[in-house]
């Protein structure tokens, strides 16, 4: 039996207070998993631990069977992480930025160049490939980092609010590209505050609040367990009591 794309077992992380507590989660290849939660729930911390940016205090995280702490380089080779704020260099052009990313993930040059061109064309950035990113709008910056995340054809995509700032067409393109990656066997873990998006694209949904996983399942399963016509109703029904009690912090 092949290893899951992502496996978290008993993962906890504490800063000045607990950020994530005893998180157990498995994401299979070919699956889009939406991790939902109110502000400060621990979503970003979880994603950063998976991406190898933070080390968990307790528990294990594996990417396709590779422990991210024991062999971080091997784990990182398989994944792409897209942060909630687009991280790129203002004084580089999109093409230079993709060249840099291609080098980091050791993509063969010819392949990298072809993929970079295809991604930039598809996201409508090819005409801007030689312009420095310093003057880019939020949407253009987001497109650039999306292209960077997809450049090395990762097997696991960790996406924190990937559609922020994108226009309708670009948003559709990105969703299509994610679906293509998933069809090829990649797994996607995505956080979003736009619950309709999660409802539409996710195969399974996890809801966390105050660092704890509250619910896990397909949308149909969640609806069967909690009632409610929409994901928004289920989400608010689960998290509102915690937020009211201060769990939002």
């Amino acid at each position: 039996m092949s290893a899951p794309a992502l496996s978290l077992r008993g993962v906890s992380k504490r800063f000045d207070r607990p950020a994530v507590t005893g998180l157990d989660l498995t994401v299979e290849p070919g699956e889009i998993f939406a991790l939902l939660g109110p502000n400060g729930a621990g979503k970003t911390t979880t994603l950063r631990m998976v991406a190898g940016l933070l080390r968990q205090d307790v528990g294990t995280i594996e990417v396709f069977g590779t422990d991210v702490v024991a062999d971080p380089v091997a784990a990182k080779r398989m994944l792409a992480w897209l942060p909630d704020e687009p991280l790129l260099y203002d004084r580089l052009t999109p093409l230079e930025f993709l060249e840099f990313v291609a080098g980091l993930w050791a993509i063969p040059p010819r392949e990298a160049e072809a993929r970079a061109e295809a991604l930039l064309r598809r996201l409508g950035l090819w005409a801007h490939r030689d312009e420095r990113c310093e003057g880019f709008s939020r949407g253009m910056r987001q497109k650039t980092v999306v292209a960077a995340a997809l450049l090395h054809e990762p097997r696991l995509l960790i996406l924190d609010e990937p559609l922020t700032g994108l226009d309708a067409a670009a948003s559709r393109d990105v969703k299509d590209m994610l679906a293509e990656r998933v069809a090829e066997g990649a797994a996607v873990v995505v956080t979003t505050h736009i619950l309709e998006v999660a409802e539409r694209i996710a195969d399974r949904i996890g809801i966390i609040a105050a660092g704890c996983l509250l619910e896990l399942g397909t949308f149909a399963e969640l609806r069967a367990r909690h009632g409610g016509a929409t994901l928004e109703e289920i989400f608010l029904g689960l998290t509102a009591p915690l937020s009211a009690a201060g769990g939002d912090a």
Partner: protein
């Protein structure tokens, strides 16, 4: 029906600006130790000021002497205030990007501009209010109570600097465009600061007779317009009419500048803020294999795209100009060590600038941290690119000096190696630990880099100096430092 709240006042906006400036300075992080440090500093400065004024009293200075000395002090203060005000104006008008948002609030633009101008003036003058203020206190006790007028005079000078800076920036933006304006302002600001430093070295550059002539020329003389040149100093010494005129003129100029800038902004001044500035790469990137090459290429590009790079490099040279001139004039054997120390100091400062920018100013540290590349390699690439950039600018100077004085070549190269290693350590110390990205970096803060940098540059330049002079202490320090540097780079 609810009543609309009154619009934000100038005082409200000023408080906001001051809070931003305070937090930018990072002093709030010092907590309760900050007031204690301020008290200790003020006590120390007052003791020093009383000692200085007492020693001047022994020289039996006349009022004209005091006016001449005050004139010199005010010129220095104004030059440095101008340098700071120019940079701050550029920041708050065009770099901060919050002006357009503030302007969407229901209050007159001139109120926002006045608040910004006052904040710039305060930011540029607080250091002088402390330094000159302690002197004023000592003069008031020991010489004349009128010296307390230094406080309003410093505030008025700062308002002049802020008004001039904001007006110049807006005028240049209109005439030459945003990018050219930015370059001109950076160079002008550096020249203003650099010329003050050069001026402060007059004593070591001029011959005694020339110094005496300059001192006489600084004493009040002439009538009419020429006589007005000493009004700021007279105002600072407490003369009522010059004081009222000087402070009144500063308020008038600041008000006129705010009104003029408001008009300019009303006629499309926000265009440049909203408009996308397109800067293209001169050559297309060539995709090549390997993370090492990718990291080096990226860092190298960023180093050479550092804003105001040439201006900053020249500025480092300005620091050393007076010392070099003094050494040339002396004609003694001191010239070789002075010349040898020059490229080391320049290289050290540039390496520090690049390294701090590459480490603390890295906009996407987390990206490299999420890549399948050990952090050690990222660090090494940053070091090589920044040291390479600094060496490219400083080495030609070192080679030229080495050809003239061959004995200086080895100490200069050793000095640069030490300086670059120091820059690496300072750069690492400047990285503020991030709670969301654990790079295993050592805790440190930006201002530590700002303090350590010049100190380290001077220390290593002195080591080179002593090594060139053949002093054992120079060789011993240099050898030990080279060893430590190599370890620091390779660890």
């Amino acid at each position: 029906m609810t009543q609309a709240a009154p619009s934000a006042s100038l005082g409200f906006l000023l408080r906001h600006e001051l809070r931003l400036a305070w937090r930018r300075g990072g002093l709030a992080r010092l907590g309760v130790s900050f007031p204690l440090a301020v008290v200790l500093l003020l006590v120390f400065l007052h003791l020093a000021a009383f000692g200085l004024v007492e020693s001047v009293r022994l020289l039996r200075w006349t009022r004209a002497d005091y006016i001449a000395a005050t004139t010199v002090g005010l010129i220095y203060a104004f030059g440095l205030m101008l340098m700071q005000a120019l940079r701050q104006s550029l920041d708050v008008l065009y770099e901060g990007r919050d002006l357009a948002w503030l302007a969407s609030a229901p209050l007159p633009l001139r109120t926002i501009l006045r608040a910004r101008m006052a904040a710039i003036a305060l930011s540029a003058s607080w250091m002088w209010l402390v330094l000159a203020g302690t002197m004023a206190d000592a003069l008031a006790v020991l010489v004349t109570r009128g010296a307390l007028a230094i406080y309003p005079v410093i505030a008025a000078l700062a308002l002049f600097a802020a008004a001039f800076s904001i007006s110049l920036i807006v005028l240049l933006r209109d005439l030459a465009g945003l990018r050219t304006m930015r370059t001109i302002v950076m160079v002008f600001s550096m020249l203003a600061g650099g010329s003050v430093f050069v001026g402060s070295q007059v004593r070591s550059v001029l011959a005694p007779a020339e110094r005496a002539a300059l001192w006489r020329a600084l004493h009040p003389h002439g009538a009419g317009l020429l006589g007005l040149a000493w009004w700021p100093a007279r105002a600072a010494m407490g003369s009522a009419v010059p004081l009222l005129c000087f402070v009144g003129a500063s308020l008038l100029v600041a008000g006129l500048a705010a009104a003029w800038v408001e008009q300019r902004f009303a006629r499309g001044g926000f265009d440049n803020i909203a408009r996308r500035v397109v800067r293209r790469a001169t050559s297309a990137p060539s995709f090549r294999a390997g993370s090492w090459r990718a990291l080096l290429t990226k860092e190298w590009r960023l180093v050479w795209r550092t804003p105001g790079l040439i201006g900053r490099a020249l500025y480092q040279g300005v620091y050393l100009l007076p010392v070099t001139i003094a050494a040339w004039r002396s004609g003694s054997a001191i010239i070789a060590p002075v010349m040898a120390a020059t490229p080391v100091f320049v290289g050290s400062e540039l390496a520090r600038l690049f390294m701090v920018t590459a480490m603390a100013g890295d906009q996407a540290t987390a990206l490299a941290a999420s890549a399948p590349v050990p952090w050690r390699r990222v660090r090494a690439a940053k070091f090589l690119a920044t040291a390479g950039g600094a060496a490219t600018l400083a080495l030609p100077m070192a080679v030229a000096i080495g050809m003239w004085w061959p004995a200086t070549l080895l100490p200069m190269l050793a000095g640069m190696l030490i300086a670059f290693a120091g820059a690496l350590l300072i750069g690492e110390a400047s990285v503020i630990p991030d709670r969301v990205v654990d790079l295993g970096n050592r805790p440190g803060e930006m201002f530590r880099g700002a303090v350590l940098g010049p100190v380290a540059g001077i220390a290593w330049a002195l080591t080179t100096w002593f090594a060139v002079q053949g002093r054992p202490v120079g060789f011993a320090t240099a050898a030990a430092a080279v060893l430590v540097s190599v370890i620091a780079i390779l660890r």
